[in-house]
Symmetry: D2
Subunit: 341 residues, 4 copies
């Protein structure tokens, strides 16, 4: 950590900062320039982080040198991780297609869509049984009945299941069917939930919060990793900006930057960012071309009849053609499609 | 709801939208202008909201007419609510000072600070036993031991307690001491937690998420109100913007706008927005002058030794003078200081 | 324009709005729902826009129905425009590669880079003679001497030139060499400059302001189009968000959305958004895959020696391989590379 | 400047950075920690700034130590400046009220409003003759005829005039009437315009761009100061955020933070931020209470008939009462109202 002192800081103020650093067992290295003094603090990361020196007299700013995440950092692996679970490989050179409806609605809808995903070579089937809804008056998902339908789709198609967990008290039933537990954007900083998923040791896909920095996303992953759960996927799904012409702004720059910061796979969700079907195709091509490790996309047999988020769902009967084009874009970025084992 | 059709929409597309609206039992009123057709949809709010017409062929945009919140809306009360609980009045003409340390650390710290808050005429004592921390390696709060210390402070000073609940599984012990349950910014859209607090019927203070719109904040309140819990306070604590010179941007414009949209009291937290002690004074004056119903502020007997967020804590021995100035600003906005019963 | 009245608006307030609308010669159509009244205002676009009804008693909000831009709107052309100038076609099915150094520095640098762009099949050569710099102490460009070097590059390679105009007083010398006048992001709302370029009738490329909405960008184009200048290209170059891990957030979602709103070609600048060379490749692939009509990219023979923005410049000797990959991505989006006439 | 190397940076990469720093005559001080190496670069500010080391192999990030502005910095003066011009004092302990219509419309409107401002003790009269409008079809101001009316108001009331300059080519006529030249938010980074105003030596008020950081605002001021013009006022007028319930988000936190960074006076414009008359009162109280050096506010004799921005204009006949309340809030922040000489 570097502490940059104000130009007008006195010797006594500099010494007070040095003393404070050394009081927690770290070492302080002041270096006096012509205009300002900069103090390096070296020692145990957590001790130093706790110093909270920003408000000390004479301090201009505090610059962290080390990243606050460890297990998620690229330096840990020195290469991009290839996760293996449920007979699939995710990350590394692999490109993973995850598809299914936003919300589990009916047996027919779930089974029809799952067969389409399987036939088009999709790697995972997604569907929500618990739905975080902005309005308490909106449909909140089928809950355990929805989980049962997902289990049936898995039994029939062999596709591993991705489904969201919103409440740690629902962990047990979710574990019975989920091969991957999804953490929604609104829960990205729900730390008790993240720790519980970490302890469950079930693979997880963490969606970036609407306004989360990449560092905060990596810290969310760290909560899971710290419990010994290594199978963490990150998911960019659009951030909030001033633009009102679309629901969220898909931040594709996050993909190559995350690939430099972390070894974890990075999946892109074009459906929630866009909120409109016609944007999903172009954004998916772009996500694949920018180097994403996979796509999670919403499809529906009859989007106009969907209970939730119909306008953003691709038509299921167009999914195979869509998937083929996206995989061509992934190939341009050096990826191979992750074929089921 | 108004559906604005594209200029090039065909008659068949207009008719399809009309049919879709009427298929859920609502009424459609198309009105054809020289350049575009606008269709009004009138009917049960939830039915219409579920129409998801944005992706229908020929639709340019969909404009909601009714607010999605009901119990939180100003129209419900037609005046600003004065909440009464724990011997206090909050909202209406009252100005409420809530103060205490960020985190409960030691018995001495808690009791010392509580006495200072009481002596300066503060209305509530705040302190965190469960702390949401970005890093899994950071101090996570004293938990139940912290709650015990808060109970002791309450017994000694008579001050009602505001403390955060992060995990619905901790509700029971929190209910034993909390007069007001705080919902942190990162949990503003943790809907199971909000509903549980609603059912508990304990007063709550909901902090605005870092990037939550006012409408989303009011929908979070609606989750609590819907369960029959009427004692909901909203809290502005800074939003995330592009500016890097400070931690968050305190959005004081939210205060008068919320007062128009909702009857619920609006509290301002200048400490977390600023992250720096020297800004807390000016921002508190501004918050009171803009018409806030109260302030929630962090104080510490020895900020430089605080475990958490020390740099933003006011020095406890300066609290009485601070409170007096803030109350003068509140008086300018037409408020009277809420004296304990 | 629709005026949504508050639920508690009185008949007299509704009538006052109706009267105000009719006072400017427009027609008012109030429609009273069970909960609120909505008033449609129909008439000459500018008259109605000038009504400024937001602050009238009883008004909740005002929703524009018509887009404020006309000449830039998709409806004007009912197909995407293919611009033709300087022996090039831009827009429609064409993909246009524009490349060159950020800043004109030396004769050798300009000529070397121009030859590389020509040999790799680039369509235009870009280079800045006037540079908008945040700091008044930074290098501000070679000015007219820089324009002279660009003219030399054009004479030798036959490449048409894209160069920035910052000050209307420099229009004349810029017109002597520029085939396309670039308007920088910071000047996107410099209306006198835009109108002057409109009157000059020289093709222009307008960069989106750091925080400009798509509507504002289209209104900037409208300033040029209104003067009779039809050759306007729009350029997405990154917007400002809360993320600090990169300089700007490249908003690729703007590309398909703009293609729906306007007939004008949309170019993407990956260099300024990223600020780092290693991100330029992935972002360029993504921009081409999302359907951009072209790329404007910075290259430099020796980026480490560049006077300005060296870190984001591609190495000139890697440009041909880069261009080939980007064009493959453009082909995926259905584009053909715009070959010089 | 500190260069933070990546954990995996090699000795050769460290040495290359050291060599690059020393190649421009600066000194490099590498300090190797257990995990990373940090290199301090000390030397002439502009030389070092030009190094552009972010893209060098092995570099993680570059942290500037010195502020890029000099003449605007607090360190220059070591106290807050009190500017004196046109018989007024601005800054320091003084609170300055600037008021008038958004746009000059008619002789009657200008003279009526000017008398009201004078009678209520306002310090300056504001009014726009050149108006930056998003739409090329909107009223663009009366231009020179508007300047003439402002001159008449000045002659009658003795109030010094604040008016906007949009185009350097209009400098001469503006200088004939303006005591303070206003630079609008959209022109904050119009560097040729700023430099021209600097050379004119006329006092100026620079509005913060919609998305400008405080550092960029101070760099805009630096462009004026560098030409020897010391009378620069900064103006916060709302920034762009994700919130759609209001036009802009007034960033009052900028006021105390700017007071720490710069000696220049800071004025707040509540009218443009809010866009709605009913918010102007509360925001003005807050701006005064947070410590602003003044307010610039829009008033109109008949806001409903205003050509431009009527909804945000205070009614002129309520101005005196408004000004009195705002000055009470300013007094709370330790200010005295700046009485004309």
């Amino acid at each position: 950590m570097m502490i940059i002192m104000k130009a007008e800081a006195t010797e006594a103020e500099i010494q007070a900062v040095v003393d404070r650093i050394e009081s927690v067992g770290a070492k302080a290295h002041p270096s006096r320039g012509a205009e300002v003094c900069v103090i390096g603090a070296i020692g145990d990361r957590e001790h130093v982080a706790r110093l909270d020196l920003e408000a000390h007299a004479g301090v201009d700013s505090v610059v962290p040198i080390l990243k606050p995440y460890k297990l998620a950092s690229w330096q840990l692996a020195h290469e991009r991780s290839t996760l293996q679970f449920a007979g699939r490989k995710v990350g590394g050179d692999h490109f993973t297609m995850i598809a299914g409806p936003c919300t589990v609605e009916t047996r027919d809808q779930v089974l029809t869509t799952a067969r389409i995903v399987r036939d088009a070579g999709g790697a995972f089937y997604r569907g929500g049984a618990y739905k975080p809804r902005t309005s308490p008056y909106a449909f909140q998902g089928l809950g355990q009945e929805g989980l049962r339908l997902l289990a049936e789709a898995k039994a029939e198609t062999g596709l591993p299941i991705v489904t969201e967990l919103m409440d740690a008290r629902d962990l047990e039933p979710v574990l019975e069917v989920a091969d991957v537990i999804q953490v929604g954007a609104r829960n990205m900083q729900n730390y008790p939930l993240l720790a519980e998923i970490g302890r469950s040791n079930r693979p997880t896909l963490i969606k970036r919060g609407l306004t989360a920095t990449l560092e905060e996303l990596l810290m969310a992953a760290e909560y899971v990793l710290k419990e010994g759960n290594e199978n963490v996927m990150l998911c960019e799904r659009g951030i909030r900006t001033f633009e009102t012409a679309y629901r969220f702004t898909l931040d594709l720059m996050a993909v190559p930057v995350l690939k430099e910061l972390t070894h974890l796979p990075i999946i892109v969700d074009p459906s929630h960012a866009a909120g409109r079907r016609d944007l999903v195709g172009p954004l998916s091509l772009a996500a694949a071309a920018v180097g994403a490790d996979g796509i999670i996309v919403e499809i529906h047999p009859e989007p106009d009849e969907a209970i939730c988020d119909g306008p953003q769902a691709l038509r299921a009967d167009e999914f195979a053609a869509y998937a083929e084009r996206v995989e061509q874009a992934a190939a341009l970025a050096g990826k191979v499609v992750s074929a089921p084992a």
